[in-house]
């Protein structure tokens, strides 16, 4: 393994044990994040992306069974001793959680909350040095250092999200996992927060794993994108290609859901994907996407497609790629491809 690979997930499975039986949430995912790289993970709610992220720091729920390997800097987080894991958390890798707006403690000042991980991981540090560190962190995310004395309710949504990012950076981690970091924010604040994140990756050579259902945001920000559906990777490749020229029909549907402003074909033609993702205890046989897929055909039913390479650094799991559409699904008889 070369040193540029910061995070390497190999064949990760996560199954939740519940009273209703075993629910497979993640079913064999491979994913690599290099230093200085932003990797996006896309998919709808319930496709397993947040569950996958939780395994990076072994934060998965108590009823989750995890198998496979999650190598952080070459060491397997899943089998690591507790003391080593503690060292990896915050210092090696940190997570910016979804719904950051409610993740801050309302009765403590911002500064005290950022100080907590610093004091835990560097117990001897003088108070003055901790304060300096907090001020420089706030500056890095574009906030006034005086904000350290504010309480969360005195901040706007965008400011709280920046505090969460500052906190994630408190111990100088090499990897940051950001779970829907801008979902609740408006466009301008989203642009500000994304600018902070991409600046950090560029300037400090961090690795970043970014989770979102918004393929347009990922396409803009990431180097690579992994698209998940029903706990599996259905497509993987360079970000701009996945957004602009997706191979898998599911990626295509996600991409089309965010119209390009100025594109005449999107006027009065919002594009959606009917139906819901399958329930983990009731996965359809064959391709799990087939019941919702506009291109589904007989060939999709016998077996779940495997991830197949399509040229440089691109892979997709769909047997219909490159096949002509059958006429019983689309178009008029005049359009028959001979």
């Amino acid at each position: 393994m070369s040193t540029s690979e910061l995070l390497e997930m190999r064949d990760v499975h996560v199954t939740y044990r519940t009273s209703e039986g075993e629910l497979p949430a993640v079913r064999g995912v491979d994913l690599t994040v290099r230093r200085g790289q932003i990797v996006g993970v896309a998919g709808e709610s319930g496709c397993g992306k947040s569950t996958l992220a939780s395994t990076v720091l072994r934060l998965q729920a108590a009823n989750a069974m995890v198998s496979g390997e999650v190598l952080f800097d070459g060491q397997d987080v899943l089998t690591m001793r507790w003391g080593d894991l503690r060292a990896v958390r915050w210092v090696g890798a940190s997570i910016v959680f979804q719904g950051a707006l409610h993740s801050l403690n309302p009765v403590h000042r911002i500064g005290a909350q950022i100080a907590e991980p610093i004091q835990v991981h560097a117990p001897g540090l003088a108070e003055g040095r901790v304060r300096e560190r907090i001020e420089s962190l706030l500056e890095q995310v574009g906030l006034d250092p005086a904000r350290a004395r504010s309480y969360p309710h005195q901040l706007s949504g965008g400011q709280k999200q920046r505090v969460m990012i500052a906190m994630a950076l408190a111990c100088d981690p090499q990897l940051v996992v950001a779970d829907e970091p801008t979902t609740a924010l408006d466009v301008m604040v989203q642009a500000q927060v994304l600018g902070v994140l991409s600046g950090l990756v560029r300037e400090r050579g961090l690795g970043m794993m970014m989770i979102s259902h918004d393929l347009s945001v990922l396409g803009d920000l990431c180097d690579r994108i992994t698209v998940m559906y029903a706990g599996r990777v259905v497509e993987e490749g360079p970000a701009e290609q996945i957004f602009a020229d997706p191979l898998h029909p599911y990626s295509a549907a996600l991409s089309a859901a965010f119209p390009r402003v100025g594109d005449p074909s999107a006027r009065f033609a919002p594009s959606g994907l009917p139906g819901d993702p399958p329930l983990p205890w009731d996965l359809p046989g064959g391709c799990t996407f087939a019941p919702r897929c506009p291109r589904a055909a007989e060939v999709c039913l016998p077996a779940e497609p495997v991830l197949t390479s399509y040229g440089e650094g691109r892979a997709a799991a769909c047997v219909r790629i490159g096949q002509p559409d059958e006429t019983q699904h689309h178009g008029s008889p005049g359009e028959v491809a001979s």
Binding site: S156, L185, V187, A191, G219, V261, P270, G272, D276
Partner: protein, 372 residues
């Protein structure tokens, strides 16, 4: 009456407008926050209007004011030409025709009410069952089906927590549709939903416009959504509409530097250099003097607006009228450019007529209220 006749009738009759509406809130410290400061807007049956802006621009306050949930201290809300009556009876009559779909479907539905109860509530409040000559069950089923929840009977006894986000949003829309309104005001109808459901809800709004002649006001910060479904767009900043016009014109050739900045940060916009504005919308208790956007204006900061800089800082702008046809913006720089073009061409008007600055009563009032 045929569907076509009904549609034609609705689109000519339904007309909701805000005229110079000002809404104020008093903070605990006693300062007055002007959430709306002279907002003009018009929505008619059969059209989709998008109201866009950042958080804090006043767009949700305007939506709430339009259905009487906030009371203007100045200006008027008019329904079909006559001023809204703020009595209980007056508001009830208005809400029979204009329905609000709230943001956050998880919070807007009563967790202890079944889907059936939630949708039937409007029918009962407005006593619509007896008038229709049909049963309540039929009307509820019809509303759910028209919101795309089929078969409706399977959802009657479900509680909100048993539904997906998209289903909850549809139940809210069904509840609004049950009273057969002429206008629907939807506050961020898809912002909390997955990419796949987003398109479906938007398609539903377009379909309702097509089939029922419904007028829709969508409040959103998402310009892609406006491009997807809106006929017209109004951009709000700090309590006022700063640019408005047909969606195609406003989004392909935005005039106001604020609209240009908003458009440049839409992630899927390629070929535009992103103009990321610093900070957030200022505190509405201290509305900047002159043009209210000037402290964040990229044109002023870059020197592009040097020639009109004094006007930007000191002279307030006329409030944009609720013009249902033209493309207008409230900006000193745009006005100055238009004057140059007009002088060169000898023609005094182009398709886009900016509201030029004035030193009339409006600016005096603003200068007084803005900085004190």
């Amino acid at each position: 009456m045929t569907a076509a006749e009904k549609k034609a009738e609705q689109s000519t009759r339904a007309e909701l407008s805000a005229e110079g509406v000002r809404v104020e809130f008093t903070t605990r410290a006693g300062r007055v926050a002007r959430a709306l400061d002279g907002a003009n807007l018009l929505v008619r049956g059969g059209e989709v209007v998008a109201l866009v802006g950042e958080s804090g621009s006043g767009k949700t306050t305007l939506a709430r004011t339009l259905v009487g949930l906030a009371e203007p201290v100045a200006g008027e809300i008019r329904w079909q030409g006559s001023p809204m009556k703020r009595s209980g009876r007056g508001l009830k009559a208005l809400r029979r025709h204009v329905q609000l779909v709230l943001q956050d479907p998880a919070g807007a539905l009563n967790p202890r009410q079944t889907v059936y109860e939630s949708v039937a509530e409007g029918l009962r409040v407005h006593h619509l069952v007896a008038k229709s000559g049909r049963t309540e069950t039929e009307l509820v089923a019809e509303a759910l089906a028209s919101a795309g929840l089929r078969p409706p009977e399977t959802l009657f006894l479900r509680y909100p927590h048993e539904l997906s986000g998209g289903q909850r949003q549809r139940v809210l829309i069904a509840g609004a549709l049950a009273v057969q309104p002429q206008l629907l005001i939807a506050d961020e109808p898809v912002s909390s939903l997955d990419a796949s459901i987003r398109g479906e809800i938007l398609a539903l709004l377009l379909k309702l416009r097509e089939e029922l002649g419904l007028g829709v006001l969508v409040v959103t910060h998402d310009l892609g959504l406006a491009w997807n479904i809106a006929d017209r767009i109004a951009v709000m900043y700090l309590g006022r509409v700063v640019e408005a016009g047909p969606t195609e014109e406003v989004l392909t050739s935005p005039q106001h530097p604020y609209t240009q900045a908003l458009l440049s940060v839409v992630p899927e916009m390629t070929g535009l250099e992103p103009i990321v504005l610093r900070g957030e919308i200022p505190d509405p208790t201290r509305i900047p003097s002159g043009c209210r956007f000037h402290p964040r204006c990229p044109a002023l900061a870059s020197g592009a607006a040097e020639a009109v800089a004094d006007a930007c800082r000191g002279r307030s702008l006329e409030i944009l009228p609720a013009d249902p046809e033209g493309h207008r913006s409230a900006c000193h720089l745009v006005a100055a450019r238009e004057r140059v073009v007009a002088r060169r061409d000898g023609s005094s008007l182009t398709s886009s007529r900016p509201a030029t600055s004035s030193t009339g009563a409006g600016s005096a009032a603003e200068a007084g209220g803005g900085t004190s």
